[in-house]
Every structure is written in structure tokens, then in C-alpha cells.
């Protein structure tokens, strides 16, 4: 599929940020993925379960198995409706929130198996529950297309990518948040961590 004039212009803008053109390779792949989605076919929601040791110690393997079973796909697969892709990934650098599950790279931490299943159930209904740090300002990208746009470095995704935002997509309040906030740490003011 040929790229549109708009996409080509954006590609040139990304290339122009670097002293050598080839450096823009990853941003360009993200851009093409956002525009066409053919670099790596994924559903609207990419669910990534961390499989590294700290998360395995807290049951991540059981989570990913349960999600694959519910979606009836192997790891890396997309459910029959095309809505949700589930994968296992390496350490997501949020080990205090183990087990960590991401939706479109936003964290849902300390999930029980039931909570992980509820999360996926809502995604299948095109609802995006607010992520664990919603109260602090974290927002889940409304679609993988919007995510890849942002990852390319072009800033806020345009409406036609973001308009897939589900009703109930969270920003701000964390009233119906799935999962729980970390229990400790120097920055933790949510649960009264008393170390600092």
C-alpha cells in the first residue's frame, strides 16, 4: 500500500530531527504501523503480561494462561473479534506493581487472575478501565493505532486514531480502577508509605 502524501510529509519531519536519516527508522516504523497497521498486526488493545522473575513470583504466568484461555488464542494471538491481542513481554520496569499487565503500554498493576479477566472482558466490550496510576495522570491509549502514533514521536494522536476511544476510558479518577497501587516506595503517597 503506498503511503499517503500526509504520511510521507510526517516521515520527512521525523527524519529531519536526526543528523542522519537512517536514525528515524524506528519512528518511521511506528508511524507506518499507526497509519496502516501492517508492520505487526495487532488488535485495538494490546495486552502485555510481564513474564520476568519479579512478576512470576506474583503469579504472572497464571494470568497469561488465563487470558489466552479466555481469548482462545496462543500467546501473541488476537481474539476472533480482532479487539484484543495478548502477549508476554520481558520486565516492564514496574516490579513494585507485580504482576504487571499493560494495555497499550499503560500499566494495570497487582492484578489478580479475576481482575485480569475482568480487564480483558471490558476491553472486548471496547471499554478501557483507568490504569493503576490514573489518579496521577496516567492515561491508556484508546487504540494501538493511537499508541503507535505517539511512539513515533509526533505528539498527540489525531482524532481519527483516537476516536476509537471507548466510553468509560479513564482519565483522572480512579474509582473503578482495576488492580491496586503499589504498597511502598519513596514516591508513594497513595497508600501512606511511611519511609519518606
Amino acid at each position: 500500500m503506498p503511503m499517503s502524501e500526509e504520511t510521507l510529509a510526517r516521515a520527512e519531519a521525523l527524519i529531519g530531527r536526526y543528523p542522519e536519516r537512517r536514525s528515524a527508522l524506528l519512528p518511521l516504523l511506528y508511524l507506518v504501523q499507526a497509519a496502516d497497521g501492517y508492520v505487526r498486526p495487532v488488535g485495538r488493545y494490546l495486552v502485555s503480561v510481564c513474564r520476568t522473575l519479579p512478576c512470576q513470583l506474583r503469579g504472572s504466568r497464571e494470568l497469561s494462561e488465563a487470558l489466552c484461555k479466555r481469548l482462545d488464542v496462543p500467546l501473541g494471538g488476537t481474539d476472533a473479534t480482532g479487539m484484543v491481542t495478548v502477549e508476554e513481554v520481558e520486565c516492564l520496569a514496574a516490579c513494585d506493581g507485580a504482576p504487571v499487565v499493560q494495555v497499550n503500554t499503560e500499566n494495570y498493576e497487582r492484578l489478580s487472575e479475576e481482575q485480569a479477566l475482568e480487564l480483558v472482558e471490558r476491553l472486548l466490550h471496547d471499554e478501557v478501565p483507568p490504569p493503576t496510576l490514573a489518579g496521577d495522570g496516567a492515561v491508556t491509549e484508546p487504540s494501538t493505532a493511537a499508541l503507535h502514533w505517539r511512539l513515533s514521536g509526533l505528539g498527540e494522536p489525531p482524532a481519527d486514531l483516537a476516536e476509537r476511544a471507548a466510553t468509560g476510558a479513564g482519565s483522572g479518577g480512579d474509582g473503578d480502577r482495576i488492580g491496586s497501587a503499589p504498597a511502598g516506595g519513596a514516591g508513594d503517597d497513595r497508600t501512606g508509605g511511611e519511609r519518606l
Binding site: E20, L25, V39, L53, E88, E90, A93, L133, A183, L196
Partner: protein
């Protein structure tokens, strides 16, 4: 190291790198300024760059990304008079398993990295910096992108910053889930749009780095430490930590503890204080069996090592490495054979091409040293003495991991390797 009653001494946490984390609004430019943000620019611009490099050398600051190389010395190696630009590349590709300090810093205090990037770039004569960020860390990416944008809006990035005549542009570059890209030569290859593979050194990046120009690659926490040193001085910095490992440090405590989290303490704080104190001790009913001092690529230590000070020299003396100071805590309920072999499988099946492959063997070597009997039980046909081995191995060994070279570097998260190297 023990007090009269035999208990470990209480070491107090410090509040430097994490001092703005609990503010809740420090990620915004205005609030950051109210909290003395960007104050180090005036200190830095008033001095000659060479003097600043000397200050960092004198401070004894060592890289916080794993290798612990002295930062000022690294900067001093940058080739001069090459006719090429000098590049600063900030390594925000945090991916050593168990490490989550840089991402929390970027989520809560992203301007601290921008400020550090400005004064560090000024010190080394760099006008174009890159921040290589893990693509998978969505919230950190949003916060950092916003902070960079605000810094440009307020004239703290771009041309003639605060009338100093110093220009700096910063490009935020998002990686694509390749563990190896945390290694500095692989990171630079990836940033050039090449396949993210490590290169043999020499030439070192300080001579031939990004675009074959002099380049320094520094970790987020390292760069965020620099403004503090410029503002508060070498003596203040050295008032924390040990002679050879000075300063404050973010420790990531995870695994089977009550309060996993990032905790800021002076380097040299006994591991016991971090695991049993800050981390709240073991989960109910669990007994400590082993812990990593610096992420899963560092050799395991045991309860016998709990009074070891968490600094580069002491941990090395105990037979391990401080690495990223990521302390993954394992209980007696965990089969070390399973945990360890899982890592090995990931390493070998994921990426055998790695100039820093030592990390791949360290978990198994240390596990054999301290938990020999578990290996013996497996080998002697009794099977795994724990129910958890299957869980930790996931019942799949390594056979479902992609073969070498089959991963899609551009878009898929790759299986991890283990690495202990120059970050």
C-alpha cells in the same frame, strides 16, 4: 557493622533524587520551578565546562546504570578537536529485570532529567542530546515528552539558553522492546537505525560513538544526579555513601517482600535495611532464601549476606555485583533451579550474541554455589522438590521462545538476555 545489642544499625533514608516524588505536581514546569527546579543552570553556566567535568570527577559519581564507571572520567575520555559534534545520549531503556527506578523518576519528576541533560551537555560541549526511552513505558514517555516540550517553551532548550550562548536540542527517541539495547554500543546502533547489537570495543563511544562522533551514554539516574552536585557541591555529595561509592542511590526492591518499591538511601546501606526495613521484610509466612543485589543478571546472595553494604566494592567482595541496585527477593518457597534455569533459557534462546555475556551465567553459577542440593535432587531423579518449579518454568522450558534472530526488532517485545555491562 552491628550495634551493641547485635541488631543492624539503622540507616536513614535520604531525599535527593526522590525529593519531589511525593509532591504530586512536580512533573509540571511551574511547580518544578517552585521546588528549586532548573536552579543548577545558573551554577553551571557561571563556570567553565572543563571545571564542571572536574567537579563531577571530584564528586566520585559513578554510573547508576549497572557498570558503576566513574562518570567524570567517562566524560573526560570524550575526544576533543575532532571536528565532529559531541553527543550526549541518555539511556532510559531501563530493562534489567527487577529495575524500576528510572521509570518512576521520569513519571514523577521528568524535569529533573531534562535539567540534568542541560547541565551535563553544557559540561561536555554537546549541542544535541538524545534520550533513548523504552517504548513500552507509556506513562513515563508522556511525562518526559511533556517536560521536554515545556522546557522548549520556556527557553531552557533550544538557542541561547538563559542568555548563556549555549544551544541544546533534545530528541526523545523511543525504542522497541529489545533488552540488549540497554547496552551502550547496542543502544547507539539502534539509535542510528541499525540493528541493536553490541559492538566490540575499542573504539569506545567516547572516541567513535553515535555517527562515529565522540559520545557519552549515561543512565537516567546518573544524569539526574548531576544538577545536585553542581548546586550543592562535592563535599555535600560525598557526605553520603562511601569513599569509593559516594552519593545517594535509588534501590528497587521487589519480589516476595511486604512493601516493594523504590527507596533512596546512601550507597553503602546494608542490604538488611533495604529488604527488612524499607521493603518491610518478607511476605507473611515466607522466609528469605536468596536475593539479587543488582537485577537478575547479578549473582544471587543469601541471608548470610544481609549485612553487606550496598556499594560497588562491598557487593563485589561478597561475590556479586551492585548492578542497578535492583533487589529481587526470593523466599524458601521458590525453587532456585526453576528461577535460575528460566533466566538461562531466556538468555540462550533469546540472544546469544552479546559481548557482555557474563551476566547469562552468573545466576546459575551462584545458584550452584549456594543451593547445590537442589540441583542434586533434580539430577538424582527425585524431580523438583518444590511445586513451583513448573510455575517458574512455565511448563514450557525454552522451546517456545523464538530462535535466535527471528524476533521482529521493530515491533515485538523480545525475550530478554542477561547483561551486566556498561550502561
Amino acid at each position: 557493622m552491628t550495634s551493641a545489642d547485635g541488631s543492624a544499625p539503622q540507616v536513614q533514608p535520604v531525599s535527593v533524587l526522590s525529593s519531589r516524588w511525593r509532591d504530586g505536581l512536580a512533573h509540571g514546569f511551574d511547580r518544578y520551578l517552585e521546588l528549586d527546579g532548573y536552579a543548577s543552570l545558573d551554577d553551571a553556566f557561571a563556570k567553565d565546562p572543563a571545571e564542571l567535568v572536574q567537579i563531577v570527577k571530584d564528586s566520585g559519581l559513578r554510573g547508576r546504570g549497572g557498570a558503576g564507571f566513574p562518570t567524570g572520567m567517562k566524560w573526560g575520555f570524550l575526544a576533543k578537536g575532532t571536528g565532529k559534534p559531541t553527543y550526549l545520549v541518555v539511556n532510559a531503556d531501563e530493562s534489567e529485570p527487577g529495575t524500576f527506578k528510572d521509570m518512576e523518576l521520569l513519571e514523577r519528576d521528568p524535569h529533573a532529567l531534562v535539567e540534568g541533560t542541560i547541565v551535563s551537555a553544557y559540561a561536555i560541549g554537546c549541542n544535541q542530546a538524545f534520550i533513548y526511552l523504552r517504548g513500552e513505558c507509556g506513562f513515563a514517555g508522556r511525562r518526559l515528552a511533556a517536560a521536554i516540550g515545556e522546557a522548549y517553551e520556556h527557553g531552557l532548550l533550544g538557542r541561547d539558553i538563559k542568555g548563556s550562548g549555549f544551544d541544546l536540542d533534545v530528541v526523545l527517541h523511543r525504542g522497541a522492546g529489545a533488552y540488549i539495547c540497554g547496552e551502550e554500543t547496542a543502544l547507539l546502533s539502534s539509535l542510528e537505525g541499525q540493528r541493536g547489537q553490541p559492538k566490540l570495543r575499542p573504539p569506545f563511544p567516547a572516541v567513535e560513538g553515535l555517527y562515529r562522533a565522540p559520545t557519552t551514554v549515561n543512565n537516567v539516574e546518573t544524569i539526574a544526579s548531576v544538577p545536585w552536585i553542581f548546586r550543592k557541591g562535592v563535599d555535600w555529595f560525598r557526605s553520603m555513601g562511601t569513599e569509593k561509592s559516594p552519593g545517594p542511590k535509588l534501590f528497587s526492591v521487589s519480589g516476595e517482600v511486604q512493601r516493594p518499591g523504590n527507596y533512596e538511601y546512601p550507597l553503602g546501606t546494608p542490604a538488611r535495611e533495604l529488604i527488612m526495613g524499607a521493603g518491610g521484610g518478607m511476605l507473611d509466612g515466607k522466609t528469605l532464601k536468596a536475593w539479587t543485589p543488582g537485577g537478575s543478571s547479578t549473582p544471587l546472595l543469601t541471608p548470610d549476606h544481609l549485612d553487606t553494604p550496598m556499594d560497588f566494592e562491598s557487593i563485589q567482595g561478597a561475590g556479586s555485583l551492585l548492578g542497578t541496585a535492583a533487589m529481587i527477593v526470593l523466599s524458601e518457597d521458590v525453587c532456585v533451579v526453576g528461577a535460575c534455569l528460566k533466566d538461562i533459557c531466556d538468555s540462550i534462546f533469546g540472544r546469544s550474541f552479546c559481548a557482555l555475556g557474563d551476566g547469562a551465567v552468573s545466576p546459575i553459577v551462584s545458584a550452584l554455589q549456594y543451593f547445590r542440593e537442589e540441583f542434586d535432587q533434580h539430577v538424582e531423579g527425585h524431580g523438583c522438590p518444590f511445586g513451583t518449579a513448573q510455575a517458574l518454568l512455565g511448563g514450557r522450558g525454552g522451546s517456545e521462545l523464538p530462535p535466535h534472530g527471528s524476533g521482529d526488532n521493530a515491533t515485538s517485545a523480545s525475550p530478554s538476555n542477561t547483561r551486566q555491562g556498561a550502561r
